[in-house]
């Protein structure tokens, strides 16, 4: 394309481009209002405190937990329950052996100061030892 021809062609197109720039669309008041409403909604969303998390396991368990005093109390209850199960399986003999160890040393004042068994049992054991 010759130089003069290219200039003429550019001028021709420039006329259209200038006309298009003059006829540029302007945002309507409604559009501006919608955009601002979005901006404010996003701002409010960020400013709002986070919603409290929904309680996990709400229902009967939550009620029981609350009644016994929370997880710490439940821990104590669980330990007691496991201990009970262990005693049930292993029988009472180990306990008697432990107590017997104390009695075997023959110190009656030990029995007076340490009471591991109900009093009736202590008497029975003392009688056994005398025999």
């Amino acid at each position: 394309m010759a130089m003069a021809e290219r200039h003429s062609s550019d001028d021709f197109l420039d006329g259209f481009l200038a006309a298009a720039r003059q006829a540029a669309p302007e945002p309507s008041a409604d559009l501006l209002a919608r955009v601002l409403a979005d901006a404010e909604a996003q701002m409010a969303q960020r400013a709002a405190p986070p919603l409290p998390a929904a309680p996990v396991g709400a229902g009967i368990w939550a009620g029981i937990m609350s009644a016994v005093g929370g997880w710490r109390a439940m821990g104590g209850l669980a330990t007691a329950a496991v201990t009970g199960v262990w005693i049930g399986f292993s029988g009472a003999e180990p306990l008697a052996d432990a107590a017997g160890g104390l009695f075997a040393q023959g110190a009656s004042d030990t029995l007076a100061s340490i009471s591991l068994l109900p009093e009736d049992d202590v008497l029975a054991l003392a009688m056994d030892m005398e025999e």
Binding site: L13, Q22, P25, L31, L32, M43, R46
Partner: protein, 192 residues
């Protein structure tokens, strides 16, 4: 906070203020950016209502990204042009299948002798020609010759090299000239 309406506060500073809860900053950004993004969308899509939707959606994305905006990485306007262009591309893709002759075109036989009408006719004719351009050429021509962005700025918006921008605008202008040449007389250019 009071801002100078002449626009001394940068878009980025306003965006940071908005992220910190400043309503005036939102208002200034809206007044400053919506006209630009609307113009680009209107020219990309050739449809005023769709362009408004794109402008609103692009601005909504800006409001959302504001708290995480990384300062100094990109210009707000460049980022917004890119988002708007991508939204337009999505809509144009959805439109595919629409025959070219269904795209709005200036009516034939309208009186073009009145001076006031000539400019409007030229603007309408240009839009029809833009609509017929390949999408990337259209985008480059709009940003360069209607929005006045520099080639490096356009390169950032379109995520291509400056040379590719030059090539796209040059090809776009040639195609526009060829399409409009047939309407010289009708649009007040006479012979020559």
């Amino acid at each position: 906070m009071a801002f100078d309406a002449t626009g001394e506060v940068s878009d980025e500073a306003l965006l940071v203020l908005y992220a910190n809860g400043d309503r005036d900053a939102a208002r200034f950004l809206t007044l400053r950016l919506v006209p630009r993004v609307l113009r680009v969308a209107a020219r990309m899509l050739g449809d005023a209502a769709e362009a408004e939707d794109v402008a609103q959606e692009a601005m909504l994305r800006l409001w959302r990204v504001a708290p995480e905006w990384r300062q100094g990485e990109a210009q707000v306007s460049t980022w917004l042009y890119r988002v708007a262009a991508n939204l337009c591309t999505d809509r144009l893709r959805r439109r595919r299948g629409l025959a070219l002759d269904e795209v709005a075109e200036p009516e034939d036989g309208r009186p073009s002798a009145v001076e006031g009408m000539i400019a409007a006719d030229r603007a309408t004719a240009l839009q029809a020609a833009l609509d017929a351009l390949p999408e990337r050429q259209r985008q480059a021509v709009i940003l360069r010759h209607l929005e006045g962005l520099t080639n490096p700025e356009i390169a950032q918006v379109m995520e291509i090299g400056v040379e590719a921008v030059e090539s796209l605008t040059a090809r776009g202008k040639r195609a526009l000239t060829a399409m409009l040449a047939g309407r010289r007389e009708e649009l007040g250019y006479g012979h020559g």
